[in-house]
Symmetry: C2
Subunit: 461 residues, 2 copies
Amino acid sequence: MAHQTLIKDFEALLGAENVFSSEADRISYAYDAAVLQPVIPAFVVRPTTKELLGNCVKKLYDNGITMTVRGAGTNLSGGTIPDTSETVVVLTTALTKILEINADDLYAVVEPGVITAHFAAAVAQKNLFYPPDPGSQSVSTIGGNIAENAGGLRGLKYGVTKDYVMGVEFFDATGEIVKSGSRTVKCVTGYNLAGLMIQSEGTLGIFSEAVLKLVPPPKASKALMAVFADVQNAADAVAGIIAAHVVPCTLEFLDNNTIVRVDDFTRAGLPREAGAILLIELDGHPAQVADDAAAVEKVLQANHATAVHVPKDAEEKLKLWEARRLALPVLARCRPTTVLEDATVPRSQIPAMVKAVNDIAAKYKLDVGTFGHAGDGNLHPTFLCDRRDADEFKRVEEAIDEMFDTAIKLKGTLSGEHGIGTAKAKWMEKETSRGTILFSQRLRRALDPKGLLNPTKLVGI
Amino acid sequence: MAHQTLIKDFEALLGAENVFSSEADRISYAYDAAVLQPVIPAFVVRPTTKELLGNCVKKLYDNGITMTVRGAGTNLSGGTIPDTSETVVVLTTALTKILEINADDLYAVVEPGVITAHFAAAVAQKNLFYPPDPGSQSVSTIGGNIAENAGGLRGLKYGVTKDYVMGVEFFDATGEIVKSGSRTVKCVTGYNLAGLMIQSEGTLGIFSEAVLKLVPPPKASKALMAVFADVQNAADAVAGIIAAHVVPCTLEFLDNNTIVRVDDFTRAGLPREAGAILLIELDGHPAQVADDAAAVEKVLQANHATAVHVPKDAEEKLKLWEARRLALPVLARCRPTTVLEDATVPRSQIPAMVKAVNDIAAKYKLDVGTFGHAGDGNLHPTFLCDRRDADEFKRVEEAIDEMFDTAIKLKGTLSGEHGIGTAKAKWMEKETSRGTILFSQRLRRALDPKGLLNPTKLVGI
């Protein structure tokens, strides 16, 4: 079927206001937050109900057209870049209903297009807590969070999106509805397809609903900022805190480059001379928080922290976390291209990884700002460069290669939370095995027989 | 290849002491803990290293022979009953090495045949904690726990086996090695195959290694036994505790039938007149435990508990939990056949489910003892019967049908922690959808093209 006929068909199905086919519209959906070549899709559809979402998938399947599902497009590995110029982008952004927040049973049921921060706020209003807080939470969608298994600042104590998905409902490539998981805290009925769908990057199905776990909110919390002259001391302190069996809610690291640039932008009064700072949040029962804070301060002193600041009120605390959340956007302003990595290592290896990142950046003469979820072993070395400078960009690529090799040598992983997409597919076999790639490809071909769901992503089709 | 030749081959590969082909041996592996027809396998192999395990799988694959992997055979849904008399049972019980317990990074690496309780004890020796504690932990293996996603008494606060699997390595049906997950707390490299393998019941691959998450142990704990004259009051108290945002480590329910029979056997001094008791354990920071205990006692009083006992020392506490752990074996002694179910509902529906179980048992004139993980919404109604009494067993089957219908109506699930196996396969579509079954079967056929891995289990091949 020619595109024009198909567009008319979709307009009839969804209403003309939910089909985008002008050039300007199509260009808007050609890229995501990854540094990769944009691909302009054929057109874009925005179903407004679950049933219409299913109809869209079925129609695209029947016509043999590739589809890239997209929430807010914040992902960092190219998972929402259309596969080809024939691809249709399926938006979930009109599926924004919170269907249920069950305070007695501590779960919620949502449509995939619900914005993470809106959902967290709705949950908080009922005096409950949805912990996953990816950096993009103010715009990212729950469907995207699940498809990428999004992390966030609270991963250390509370885990990542995966740990809050109790069940999913999705349309498979053929438009059939599949359900897995339950509103119960335990469910072993059939394969753990909900688990499989997490981090499947839009290649196995398109979510129509998710059941998410909620928890009672912590009764108290305390934030600390620890300042270090030496970056390695900060890294050692991270390993020390975990080894002391304290599990902070959040344990974030910012190196000097990041500190200076965030302070330039925010005038937040960050310690510009510091080699690194750690931002720590403890939460839980008030007595637990007090004990943990004492244990943490001891570790910080033992690792030569030059100062430990405790925000004096909620406003000052908010400012501190805002400074952390601004790390990426502020670094991104410095040069035309920002390459944000997320190689992750066991937490005790943070000192080795911090050293390796700095050595590699020096070797390849690159400007790097490193920040991230140190408590999870998950750093974000951010290379500031210009993609148009072929020599510099080649050095960035070589540096990343070397960084991944280091992460794997330290028994870590290519990607803690950003996904594989098209950006990291070539490294996958090195971390896993040939058998893993073959197994994954067989799985995928069986579940998407025509190869229509984001076919160039992950292990390919 | 004729069996005799193949047996010789395996004896050469594994040593004669690791191949079991006598009738007595084969009969020992014909059944598991489910009430289902035994099937005597062709023979049984016990590889002693990971490499030999891989060789076994490859040899069976090449010869087109079906294989049933087996740890301790404690599963309750028939997952370890051989498929046919041609099936070879692959034992993991010689793969018992704990390869690493990493106290700095809070993980362990184990072989699949490690016994759950041995592992938990080794971890405790390093002042760490592995929470999953299935009822069969003293004999069950970690490989079996993962294949069934085993639950246990601590599910309410700490989750189930799934929540502690960071990574797995396994041989697929063809004998290729597949790896998924990592020693890091976050990993999104490729499909979440570790998630898929959990609760896959030996149908997608055979584990060779697992990376398990450990946590710091709680600093304090407190146990309580609450006595209720009326079973519904006990059920209401369960829902009340969760609604009060207290998350006990354990929240167990025993009905009168179970109490009396356990007390007959143990002389533990249980309240034989009680309609039901709740056994509750709170753990965490000492101040948190004290606050939680006060909140729980308030809920218990509001729901007309006639007494609340606190064990006066560790020995008395141990006795209490022993009484709970004896519920199943004691009920099992009463009649020739014990049918233990695990339909699970959202926690607020526990009062409705307890009522339904008793109404159904009365309607079908059956002897039922109900106990279980009430805090998880996961009850174990246990029908005491005699399979040889065709009329009685038909009533049991009808009662179970009705119980599953009720669980699903209450937005629950067929199986909280025991699995589908062959026992519950016929009910799966009712809870999920036709699309779910088709999707699962396509997935399975692609990953096990010759249909050799436990082919009659779960959704079939």
